[in-house]
């Protein structure tokens, strides 16, 4: 009899949840309520690199000629020893060798279906970092490729790292890499983008001024031929010690937007947008994207993604735990006034369990916003999920793209001619794979 009285309580509880789900704009994107966009048809999963070398940390970028390029890292130990370089033992000789990882690059001329033989980007043996701090790639207008990656500092500390830069040598390979940060052992989370003004902009999180503790945003401009156009220069401060940054351009490169996460004295970590009107030389005060109130003293290790559409709207996705675990998830917002203000955040997908989720965003030529992220499945394994927001505001269904036996994480998106590509790292025990799926977009 006692149970009979308890059950109605439980029903009321579910009813309350139902009402909440139906009413909350966070939980059900308004656009989605109106009507749903079509789900994309993704092709079969393709593995990048050699399975025995544990490929990981893939990054995708379409070249101006339409070819899709992928970079990823692999165990250097699995490579046949014909390297001209020497093992990097962190300089001091006292440290154990880092787990040496190579940076590989390959191209696909058929929309990701088949791939060229992989080429090694790093000439000397290096402990190339992955995860949130993985390698990045950019292309100049003349199809020249440029890569950045991080290696641990001299004492082997990954959090006091160095940013390496190498460019296509025009002869089918890459030139020798050089370190971009002028203060050693102080930089991580590098991002490289080719500006419409014809220069390369490299941004990273820097800790050369280690006190006050929040990190600085540093930039450097490089010419298409690899010459440094500027020294390292600070563009902002108060950054969270991690993670990846987002960059977008407007007005032919005169306007530069950078998204990052700030950390307050009370350890509240909200995402912000910084805007430069002089080609990235100086930035206005950051604008808060959303007051999530995520107070965390630990390492959030998941950064935002930023994209700009043809209307000049800025789209941002990010992970936050918000003010309580029940708020945790991947969120999205849009600015229709060039980053002066942002619409209230909308939930892309809620966390299924306590877990930091990773996200990626890309904006198509037709202004469709594509979102990919990781989340846990019913068996508590991290998987890759996807949805799109049409230019008309319609949200597509959530699609699960991976079926990892272990965990699938850190998705990256790239757009090519009429194709959308999603790559991610899948780990299972001590092995990893870099995987890719593609879908046709547009009509």
């Amino acid at each position: 009899m006692k149970n009979c009285f308890r059950r109605p309580k439980r029903i009321s509880f579910y009813l309350a949840c139902g009402l909440l789900a139906a009413c909350s704009s966070d939980l059900a994107p308004r656009g989605a309520r109106e009507s749903r966009g079509e789900a994309l048809r993704f092709g079969a999963q393709i593995a990048l690199g050699r399975a025995e070398a544990n490929p990981a940390a893939p990054f995708l970028r379409a070249a101006p000629d339409g070819r899709l390029f992928a970079v990823w890292t692999e165990d250097a130990a699995a490579r046949e020893s014909n390297s001209s370089g020497h093992a990097a033992f962190h300089g001091s000789g006292k440290m154990a060798p880092s787990p040496l990882r190579d940076l590989l690059i390959a191209a696909s001329a058929d929309g990701g279906a088949t791939w060229s033989s992989a080429r090694r980007v790093n000439r000397s043996d290096e402990a190339i970092q992955g995860e949130e701090n993985g390698p990045k790639l950019a292309f100049g207008a003349d199809h020249r490729a440029y890569a950045v990656w991080s290696i641990p500092g001299e004492k082997g500390d990954k959090t006091r790292a160095n940013i390496r830069f190498a460019m296509d040598d025009g002869q089918g390979g890459f030139g020798s890499a050089r370190t971009l940060n002028e203060v050693k052992d102080a930089a991580r989370f590098a991002l490289i983008e080719f500006s419409p003004d014809g220069s390369l902009l490299v941004a990273w999180i820097d800790r050369r001024i280690d006190s006050p503790r929040p990190r600085q945003l540093y930039l450097m401009k490089i010419a298409g031929d690899g010459r440094a156009l500027t020294k390292n220069y600070p563009a902002g401060e108060g950054l969270c010690e991690c993670c990846k940054l987002g960059i977008a351009f407007a007005d032919g490169g005169k306007t530069v937007y950078i998204a990052d996460r700030q950390v307050s004295e009370k350890q509240i970590r909200n995402h912000v947008l910084r805007r430069s009107s002089d080609g990235g030389n100086s930035f206005a005060a950051p604008v808060e994207i959303s007051d999530d109130g995520w107070q965390v003293a630990s390492c959030p290790h998941s950064g935002p993604s930023l994209g700009r559409d043809s209307r000049g709207w800025l789209h941002v996705s990010w992970f936050t735990l918000g003010r309580s675990e029940s708020e945790a998830g991947i969120y999205y917002s849009v600015s229709k006034d060039g980053g002066k203000s942002f619409a209230p955040r909308r939930l892309v997908q809620a966390n299924r369990a306590p877990e930091v989720l990773y996200n990626s965003l890309a904006v198509g030529a037709d202004d469709t916003v594509y979102l990919a992220w990781s989340n846990l499945d019913a068996e508590n394994r991290a998987q890759i999920f996807f949805r799109a927001i049409g230019a008309d505001g319609r949200w597509s269904e959530i699609q699960q793209l991976s079926r990892a036996r272990g965990d699938a994480s850190r998705p990256v998106l790239a757009l090519g001619p009429h194709r959308l590509h999603v790559a991610w790292t899948e780990t299972d025990g001590e092995t990893s794979r870099a995987l890719l799926r593609s879908a046709r977009i547009g009509r």
Partner: protein
């Protein structure tokens, strides 16, 4: 009696029916389903509650479990070699490990989202003296409901969590938590 049974079945099915209706009506089925899942979250570790069990291997291949640490308090530290605040608190964890015999407790580090090679290197680089294990596929991290390292749990001799610090550990907090853990009576 029959009416009572019918009512019981109806009450049992009602939440599911509501869930189906909600999924049908909601424009965002997945989010709605997750909302219901989240409405009754899994119990996580909390002071006074039994610590979630685990079975791992130390870096030198020795099998360990929560059970194997019974009999003495355990300082369980979740960390990662790539994590800034984890690196900053490592001297303190090392100090706790150095004093563990005298203090009659043990220290175990569990590395999350890390690799064996990176961990081996970190151990040598930071001269870490406590045993550590790699949480492959993040099962332990998830059972302890950790959003980001570092996190430290103080578990008493009977396997009950007595204190937890989500974020960097300070000496004061560590000593207070150890006192609380040692004094715990089950």
């Amino acid at each position: 009696m029959k009416r009572f049974k019918t009512a019981t079945i109806a009450l049992k099915l009602a939440p599911r029916a509501l869930l189906i209706a909600l999924l049908w009506a909601s424009p965002d089925a997945a989010s709605a389903a997750q909302l219901l899942e989240q409405a009754s979250p899994r119990p996580g570790p909390a002071a006074g509650r039994a610590a979630p069990g685990f079975q791992l291997h130390t870096l030198d291949g020795k099998p360990i479990s929560l059970e194997s640490y019974r009999g003495k308090p355990l300082v369980l530290n979740f960390f990662a070699s790539w994590c800034d605040p984890c690196r900053e608190e490592m001297p303190l964890i090392n100090e706790l490990a150095a004093n563990s015999e005298k203090g009659n407790y043990r220290v175990l580090g569990i590395a999350v989202e890390d690799s064996r090679a990176a961990l081996d290197e970190f151990k040598k680089e930071a001269r870490l003296i406590f045993p550590m294990a790699l949480d492959l596929n993040n099962a332990v991290k998830r059972s302890y409901r950790i959003f980001g390292p570092p996190a430290t749990f103080f578990i008493d001799a009977e396997g009950v969590v007595r204190a937890m610090v989500l974020g960097p550990l300070t000496q004061e907090r560590a000593l207070e938590a150890l006192r609380k853990t040692a004094a715990a009576k089950n």
